[in-house]
Symmetry: C2
Subunit: 227 residues, 2 copies
């Protein structure tokens, strides 16, 4: 069971490390983190993760998983990365993403005609790539499995694990990783958080990367996707 994650600069590291923790407990799991080179890759959280393999090392995998993060626009514009996602995704048993990684799958042409989800703030962009946006924490449509924003990757991974190895296995891993969530607050979606907290999010996103949405739309257009 070979699971290949795309690792890239500016990744939201929990998009990868959450699912990787769960999926590493699949029977016979081999996890690869794949990028251009084996040099350390800086994440959004102030530390670096080491790739285990380069694109050339991993021409195929049972599960492809593309995480998201601030670096997604650069990934879409980086032909070796997008070519690798397209190639591995064309043959993988499961083609998956977490958070804005769905936009990379979309840019690689892998979500045309598929239901999918992504981080709530970027949901509308799924349609640009021919996907059908669904508001859900995990969406499975045939062999495409997509998770919502960041922490949704854990619910996504448990759901995918059950589909691959059965519910009993997934339930045992849930116990081992003590996944009995009890958030101290209930503000994990825009509807629950309310407009004031949504405005805080938008202000921060605009400050960090004011043109990110326009850049993504421009990149999509260059690849032939138009609204």
């Amino acid at each position: 069971m070979h699971i290949a994650f795309l690792l890239f600069p500016g990744i939201t590291q929990l998009d990868l490390t959450g699912p990787a923790q769960f999926l590493s407990r699949l029977p016979g799991a081999k996890i690869d983190l794949v990028w251009d080179s084996l040099d350390p890759v800086p994440t959004d959280a102030g530390f670096s993760i080491l790739p285990t393999a380069t694109f050339a090392d991993v021409p195929r995998a049972d599960v492809l998983c593309v995480p998201g993060g601030m670096g997604v626009a650069q990934v879409i514009d980086h032909a070796p990365a997008l070519d690798w996602v397209r190639q591995v995704g064309s043959e993988a048993t499961w083609v998956t993403s977490v958070c804005t990684g769905a936009l990379v799958l979309g840019a690689a042409g892998l979500l045309r005609g598929y239901k999918a989800t992504t981080h709530w703030a970027w949901h509308d962009l799924l349609a640009l790539f021919g996907a059908e946006p669904v508001q859900a924490r995990t969406v499975i449509d045939r062999n495409r499995a997509t998770g919502g924003g960041v922490t949704a990757g854990i619910d996504f991974a448990l759901t995918l694990m059950a589909a691959i190895a059965g519910e009993d296995h997934a339930k045992a891993v849930q116990l081992a990783l003590e996944y009995d969530p009890a958030p101290p607050f209930d503000t994990g979606t825009p509807a629950k958080a309310g407009p004031a907290l949504v405005a805080v999010y938008q202000a921060r996103a605009n400050k960090l990367a004011p043109h990110r949405r326009d850049e993504l739309i421009a990149s999509a257009a260059r690849l032939g996707f138009t609204a």
Copy 2:
């Protein structure tokens, strides 16, 4: 706001990467991952994380956080690591752990007389180190904040973030990271999972490290902690 995580071989990487994702969003956050050297540190999930600093580089921090994992017994037996935890913990504003990292805090003498929690399967060992075990996902007693097993680190981090930066800030980060958990199953604690799944966990733990509990008790005794 300087947050220092202990990083070590055999760490359960989500114990660190979950809280680090949240705590990196504290105002002015600087995250350090600290170990003996700057060489890559292998985690339990098949990939390596790079330390950002060595013990000598980080003599103090505002928040000390010790994650858990299979390597915890070796950390307790490794004097430079335990000395660093004791030193930084003696002056930190917050002394914290996730999962079996609590046993390292305990071995460093930092939980004597404090309420604390850890992974459900190791809960009873807290008392060895003079702590008062509490069955909860997050336990805060004065400046000690401890989280339960693995994924509890996320609830722990949100709770700690609210204590440090206020509830409004924590709620905004919860929205940004879309933390609205919806596990597909409800087997995250021994009581909810039932005896058959608990037996699966124990069998795997016994297979991976049959003498781990005895080793931890022996290490505790060497440090002067006796039941």
